[in-house]
Assembly symmetry: C2
């Protein structure tokens, strides 16, 4: 039984993580939240108390921390006696936080691949660039490290594992579809840190097709989907972390990621990119000031967390899986619908943050309770999906399925987590 959670990062996702940890502090124990800016942590602590999210009386403490400083992070993990670290800080922090976990024996959870701030959109193999190089180190130290345990990557990986385990004998293609059909009422805004958001789309688009990496330009491949609840939506093929791990772990010949973009997003992105305003390379103004254009764009855009109060509408994220079962072709869509207003009411964040922030807390609970405490490194699809999806059903992210038998919720209540874990490991 591991206990006590240190959350690193106090953005919109950190806020959700803190609320959800608080809602389960009977299992998770003390909760600590740390970021570069203490005031942001303190605001989250206030929000948790205002919404009375703490299930039982317990510790919830804000800390100032530069998580690039491994020694300081080690010190904080030790002084707070945290046995689980949920890293939802900027992607640049992953390797230093992981190092601190290895040095202290704390379990590590993150939601996105490590990025080098000086490189944009590194080419695949993404997890192979940093995380997987440290797999052996984790195993030697007996440290549990669950990679990419947000929604996508994360829940969509569990959906894929579930499809493999229970719905298919053979999977031919996996299309992960992520559509935000919400409306924040602003001319333009990104739903999370603009620096990270734009960086995702400034390089090449990588997909896994015919068992090999295929490269396209951003906004080159477009596809419309008819989706539950949100209806017909336009998406564009995008590179995304989980394509890499799933291609390694699932043996599926076609794995693609599709993200919904509005016309407005594409127009703004295209203009900014073509003008050079998304560059992370410093330029010099006529007055001699050295400045990174992307950081100026970030500064003029709305703070993503400021969007939440007026956000309406829903998100739809899921896996469209095609293949064969019992000699017959099959197609299933396993998905979740989340609502921006409901998320804000519950935890003070919109649904994008909500879908990203709830799953790592479910992962932390599964580590605390044992089924996911594997004392090694894993991506989500390598772990038993049922206990994870079962927890999420009860934590605000219910799973639904649409297949030949119609559209319905999926429940996993009949099965205790431990049994499911054994079943999946065997299957």
């Amino acid at each position: 039984m591991k206990r006590n959670v240190l959350i690193i990062g106090a953005g919109g996702v950190g806020q959700v993580v803190a609320h959800k940890c608080a809602q389960h502090n009977d299992i998770l124990g003390d909760i600590h939240i740390a970021s570069r800016t203490l005031a942001k942590c303190e605001a989250i602590v206030r929000s948790v108390h205002e919404k009375k999210s703490m299930k039982t009386a317990g510790k919830l403490v804000a800390h100032q921390l530069n998580a690039l400083d491994v020694d300081k992070t080690v010190e904080l993990i030790r002084s707070t006696n945290s046995q689980i670290v949920i890293n939802v800080g900027q992607a640049f922090l992953n390797m230093s936080v992981l190092t601190a976990c290895i040095r202290t024996g704390a379990a590590y959870i993150d939601t996105a691949i490590h990025e080098d701030p000086l490189k944009i959109c590194e080419t695949p193999p993404w997890y192979g660039n940093y995380e997987w190089k440290r797999r052996e180190e984790c195993e030697k130290a007996g440290v549990t490290a669950v990679l990419g345990a947000g929604f996508d990557p994360g829940v969509v990986n569990a959906y894929a594992a579930l499809a493999r385990d229970e719905y298919f004998d053979r999977i031919d293609s996996l299309d992960i579809i992520d559509v935000n059909a919400g409306d924040h009422g602003r001319y333009f805004a990104t739903n999370f840190d603009p620096e990270i958001n734009f960086r995702e789309f400034t390089g090449q688009v990588w997909s896994w097709q015919n068992n090999q990496w295929t490269s396209n330009k951003m906004f080159e491949v477009r596809k419309e989907w008819d989706l539950p609840v949100v209806g017909t939506r336009t998406t564009y093929m995008t590179g995304h972390d989980e394509i890499h791990s799933l291609s390694k772990n699932l043996g599926v010949p076609h794995i693609r990621f599709w993200m919904g973009f509005s016309e407005r997003y594409i127009t703004v992105f295209t203009v900014l990119k073509n003008l050079g305003l998304l560059s992370e390379q410093p330029i010099r103004t006529a007055e001699g000031l050295e400045v990174v254009p992307l950081k100026v764009v970030k500064a003029v855009l709305p703070d993503p967390s400021s969007l939440a109060p007026n956000y309406t509408g829903k998100t739809c994220i899921g896996d469209l899986v095609k293949g064969e079962k019992d000699g017959k072709p099959r197609e299933v869509f396993i998905y979740n619908i989340s609502d921006h207003e409901e998320a804000y009411k519950e935890v003070g964040s919109q649904a994008i943050s909500y879908t990203a922030g709830v799953p790592p807390v479910a992962a932390a609970i599964l580590i605390a309770q044992g089924p996911w405490d594997i004392r090694g490194m894993a991506n989500v699809e390598e772990l038993p999906p049922r206990p994870f999806l079962n927890l999420l059903n009860h934590m605000g992210l219910p799973t639904r399925i649409r297949d030949e038998a119609g559209d319905r919720p999926l429940t996993f209540d009949d099965e205790p987590a431990q049994a499911a874990a054994q079943r999946s490991a065997a299957g």
Copy 2:
């Protein structure tokens, strides 16, 4: 007879002014060019020599000058014995350069209204905000100050004066149309200093309608025109300096300015404006750096002077005048067509700079020779148009007319400048 010219400003227009002064240095005498950046002046001097633009052997000297420093400007006017100053520097310099002219007795010529760097798009009366407040001071000192002597304002004001003098008994409406049908081959670029360019369009649009100021939003009023040479073109109603002086000096009930914009320009402008990237108010990045967004946009955009070598196509700028002559309704379009490639071949600048830079040199010649040396302040429409347009016919900016008798060049050769001046003054 005034002689010796000091050019202030070494941008694309300054380059044209220097070449054209050199081509007429038998009349104009010594030529001096000054700007904040000495190297830019030196590059222009080199260009003038390379293209052998000097008509006779004479002085052409580069100087470093901060023209906001009136004492230093006075000193330079005196030490160079300049009797005519052509101010084509940034619009923020007008008042300090005018002061230096008043103190030295040198004639003053500019091509655009004064702007306060801290105010964007001041409301009408534009000339009344700064320039005209100093009219009496000029008259007392016997200083000639010709305001707005570029193309628009400038030549279009002379076209309006010519229409009034020779083509109409009564003018009902004056539409000034400025279309650049050229192509620089870049995704996006402004044809002159982006800071000035965008500032023109970030405020309200003012026009003179039914004898009063009318306000619209930018890109609100759109109109297509069928124009000579460049064909059917889309323009948008825009505020422009000359609407103000013409409304005062012409007594015409409708005066509007129309500028051609490509779809690309409008898209880029709309995105940048809505995002707040055209703001001249400093913002602070997450890292604490204070920076003016507009200056960052300027830094990432192509240097307007870099566009010239690859610029193709033509500009069309003119006055569509409607009214009555001899009891019959009449409509004339008085205009000029300029060619980007020809301008570059002659003076190393594209046609936008060319059309703005040639007219103030014609004005300088008319001051040097007498007809425009009025020892007071005037806008171009208050001065005799024929000698000006006659000079321009021979300096690369020929005037054409399209009316009920067809489309043809207008010539003024039959009439010496002095006679024309008297005629216009009488008429």
